[in-house]
């Protein structure tokens, strides 16, 4: 309801002020202040050269054995889970900022990769996946024959 605002602020109701307030509310909602966790886990960086793609992801606390990496053509899919810490009945939690649960993320790579030669390693909570470009996809120089 708009009208109760009239009495509360003692000012003339203005649709502009209402819209401004609405805009503020929407901005606050979208700015992520109410969401303490990142919407995307894990965060990923992608590095590209002509020969291969390197994908790195920050996966602290994720058991490397639980990570599942699949590659199909030029789509890389990462999935896994992070176990929540389990508290015994007499333990009290003071802070809980680390998210837990299952995650799946897919990325479209700039070119098709050779799924047989993909190499992945996980060190210090950072996953590094190296995906070599498929042989068939590599740019090829075509010689032009000249006719005499």
């Amino acid at each position: 309801m708009f009208w109760p605002e009239f009495g509360r602020y003692g000012r003339v109701w203005s649709p502009w002020r209402e819209m401004e307030r609405l805009q503020q509310d929407v901005n606050r909602l979208l700015s992520g202040e109410s969401a303490p966790y990142a919407a995307t886990f894990p965060a990923v960086n992608i590095w590209v050269s002509d020969q291969d793609v390197i994908v790195t992801a920050e996966v602290p606390g994720v058991d490397p054995a639980s990570l599942d990496i699949t590659v199909a053509e030029n789509v890389l899919r990462l999935s896994g889970s992070r176990k929540p810490e389990e508290l015994k009945p007499d333990e009290v939690s003071h802070r809980r900022e680390r998210a837990s649960g299952e995650f799946t993320r897919s990325f479209r790579l700039p070119y098709a990769v050779d799924s047989g030669k993909v190499d992945a390693s996980c060190d210090k909570g950072v996953l590094t996946v190296r995906l070599p470009r498929a042989e068939a996809d590599k740019p090829r120089k075509i010689a032009i024959k000249t006719q005499k």
Binding site: A43, H94, F107, K124, T128
Partner: protein, 132 residues
């Protein structure tokens, strides 16, 4: 109207400490829980191992510092970026008395686990009565 270019920056008081190295510093996310005889802290610090983490306890302030060696790939261009590598730093004020000599820390898969045992209160001494 163009804004005036700022030549000098006013310092905040107390002066905020800065690092000599121009590198971003991040606040690690933590979980803290209290068991019967200890406070357990878990901090997400991807890129940190047991050699590159420092834990100091001064008076009642516990400071966690983690140094990260950012990965650099020669000949590659960054096509997509969601995170930046940087050091970690966070400090907590501890309310309970902590037994400083028995603090344990370990790092696994980029997660720092810190166990801060509570100092034992003066133990009750039981005096057994010998029968005559």
């Amino acid at each position: 109207m163009a804004e005036k270019e700022i030549q000098k920056r006013e310092a905040s008081s107390p002066v905020e400490t800065e690092r000599t190295k121009s590198m971003k510093v991040f606040i690690p996310r933590v979980d803290i829980h209290e068991t019967r005889d200890a406070i357990v802290l878990l901090a997400d610090m991807p890129g940190v191992d047991e050699k590159s983490v420092d834990i100091t306890l001064e008076k009642n302030v516990l400071t966690l510092t983690g140094r990260v060696q950012p990965a650099a790939y020669e000949g590659y261009r960054a096509a997509y970026a969601e995170y930046e590598a940087g050091d970690y730093e966070r400090a907590f004020t501890l309310s309970d008395e902590i037994d400083r000599d028995r603090i344990e820390a370990s790092v696994k898969n980029g997660v720092l686990k810190l166990t801060l045992p509570k100092a034992e209160p003066v133990k009750l001494r039981k005096i057994s009565v010998k029968s005559a």
